[in-house]
């Protein structure tokens, strides 16, 4: 098996960079750990879940999807090429990789989004098995696991008491990555450390079932009370993919942008005529939970959540998807004959 010392992960990053990969890894930046482009000298932090997710590099916060030259009232369309450098997502988490199934589905459902697909082709995903978790992790409650391999091109497995990593290829891209790593990796044997045990926090099937019957439930105001309607959770979430299309222009040029958006914002569903189907935060929060645990499963047979816990970690108002699901699941245990 191919091995690397845990404290030599940056040597692996350096080798991959020399081989032409843009290396993205969890790095400390102004007091937070986040996934960003690695540069020589930066330490790779594997001890905390980064505040952002792998989605940033497949579906960036802002990207150009159209360009025109302007000349008075006339315009000429110009080609737009997706910006898709060869990239390795190094030491992301299994919950990041698991989210790719949904992003792949949404961006290819019927119409194919080549901006996403170009980046997707160019990315090699290397999750690290989690041997530690915090209170907000709940991957095992949504069909995931700290050592799940869904979406992975290669797995980094902590081994020998955390002193080394095993780098195990899972796909052709993974094999290519190992080749590129070359002598940064040693050949040898090591014993993979057991993944952390994460107790299931709620029965997700009970949640989905309750949601299908409880659009009008009295529980929604209480569940959503703390939410102040920012986009922090949606932006941190590896599966959230809502976006806005906006034009910006000077006298001579205009661009059409695909920008991140969030169903939590007040104007998200506002009609031009003034009607807003979701006029308050209660309605918007309900849509968020429904979308992840009811509508997406109904349409795509996938959950819209991989249990990474980022939403709860970034939320300044103390909202937590796992806490909400737990409260809903508790509701289903309370009164089996009660119709809400």
């Amino acid at each position: 098996m191919k091995l690397i010392d845990a404290n030599k992960l940056t040597a692996l990053a350096a080798a991959l960079a020399r081989a032409g990969y843009r290396v993205v890894a969890p790095i400390e930046d102004s007091g937070v750990v986040r996934l960003k482009e690695w540069a020589e000298g930066a330490a790779i932090r594997t001890d905390a879940v980064p505040v952002n997710s792998a989605k940033d590099f497949l579906f960036p916060p802002s990207e150009i999807i159209g360009r025109w030259d302007l000349d008075g009232d006339d315009f000429t369309a110009k080609e737009v090429e997706p910006d898709a450098p060869k990239t390795v997502l190094l030491a992301v988490r299994p919950c990041d990789a698991a989210a790719l199934a949904l992003l792949d589905t949404v961006f290819n459902w019927d119409y194919k989004d080549d901006f996403y697909n170009a980046r997707r082709q160019a990315v090699t995903v290397v999750p690290m098995v989690c041997t530690a978790a915090d209170e907000q992790c709940f991957c095992t409650s949504v069909g995931g696991a700290p050592d799940a391999t869904a979406g992975a091109d290669a797995m980094l497995r902590p081994a020998d008491g955390g002193t080394r990593f095993i780098l195990e290829p899972m796909t052709d891209k993974g094999n290519a990555l190992l080749d590129a790593a070359g002598s940064a990796l040693a050949e040898g044997e090591a014993a993979a450390d057991p993944p952390v045990e994460i107790a299931r926090r709620f029965d997700v099937e009970a949640v989905t079932e309750w949601l299908s019957r409880n659009f009008e439930s009295d529980l929604w105001p209480a569940l959503s009370l703390a939410c102040l309607g920012c986009g922090a959770c949606a932006y941190a979430c590896p599966t959230c993919h809502c976006f806005d299309i906006q034009d910006e222009a000077t006298r001579r040029e205009s661009v059409r942008l695909k920008n991140w958006d969030s169903c939590g914002f007040g104007l998200f569903t506002l009609h031009a005529g003034g009607h807003n189907p979701r006029p308050d935060q209660t309605a918007r929060w309900r849509n968020r939970v429904m979308h992840k645990f009811s509508y997406i499963p109904e349409r795509f047979k996938l959950l819209g959540c991989t249990g990474c816990g980022r939403c709860a970690r970034v939320c300044g108002a103390g909202m937590s998807m796992s806490e909400v699901c737990r409260l809903i699941a508790d509701e289903t245990k309370k009164a089996p004959t009660h119709e809400s």
Partner: protein, 270 residues
């Protein structure tokens, strides 16, 4: 600080109807998150300590909470200032709000109405304390050349994802349609990049000049650790120096930037 007295007072105001809801803080697995108590029996959940960095006054802008007025808010001095200022800006009426006065200096100030809150601020918390590290950082940045300063802030704002958590966390950001949500014209680019990020953060700081009570909730809410308080404190100091106004001490005060007096200085016009 005597948390038991806080809990007793919270239970009392709910029990006798002086408040329909208490907004404070509770523990969640070691973190401090907002608590919304409508029943005296739940008061035992409440706590307060230095880790409680959100500003509960921000919840007064939520439509769903209007039916719970009068509301009692667990308020440290910065939050008390927010409430007094909200009253000065006619966003909240005296009879809508009670304060359960807490502090980071171990004093618990009991149940206060807005008038008593303002009196307490003027008597016991007349100066806004500044973290020495923050002051040092401000001095360092002020000593930079304009190019260096611009480079510093460009780097800070490059991380901004335009999640608007700063706006959501701030009690003074209560516009029903924020400037970034206006598109005729589009004053600020909505893309999380470059000049739009710069414009958003600077303009929000400007819109808070003379209105920021330096609670720090915006910086605490930012997922990317952008040092927003550097901007806000600098502007707050400028306002105090130019106009002699301390923010959040007088519920009758006219808005600093929104009002004009013939005595206003002009030496910044060059």
């Amino acid at each position: 600080m005597d948390v038991d007295r806080l809990r007793q007072d919270a239970a009392a105001v709910l029990a006798d109807g002086r408040a329909r809801m208490v907004i404070g803080f509770r523990d969640r697995a070691g973190d401090r998150v907002p608590a919304f108590i409508t029943d005296a029996e739940q008061a035992g959940e409440l706590l307060y300590d230095e880790a409680c960095r959100q500003n509960p006054a921000a919840y007064l802008k939520k439509a769903e909470l209007k039916r719970f007025r009068p509301v009692a808010i667990v308020a440290r001095p910065a939050v008390m200032r927010s409430l007094v200022l909200l009253a000065a800006e006619a966003q909240v009426a005296d009879e809508d709000v009670l304060v359960l006065g807490v502090s980071d200096d171990d004093a618990y100030h009991g149940i206060l109405d807005l008038a008593a809150t303002a009196a307490l601020l003027n008597e016991k918390y007349a100066e806004i304390p500044h973290d020495p590290d923050l002051v040092k950082r401000i001095e360092e940045i002020s000593a930079m050349t304009p190019e260096e300063r611009s480079g510093f802030w460009t780097e800070q704002f490059a991380r901004c994802t335009r999640c608007y958590a700063c706006r959501a966390a701030c009690p003074m950001c209560y516009c029903t349609q924020c400037i970034v949500e206006k598109n005729v014209p589009q004053w600020i680019s909505t893309a999380a990049a470059g000049h739009g990020n710069y414009a958003w953060n600077i303009i929000r700081a400007f819109h808070l000049a003379g209105r920021c009570t330096e609670c720090g909730a915006c910086e605490a809410a930012c997922p990317l650790g952008i040092p927003l308080m550097l901007l806000n404190v600098v502007l707050a100091r400028d306002v105090q120096e130019e106009f002699g106004v301390k923010v959040g001490y007088d519920a009758e005060a006219e808005p600093v930037i929104g009002s004009w007096s013939p005595d206003d200085g002009e030496d910044f016009i060059r």
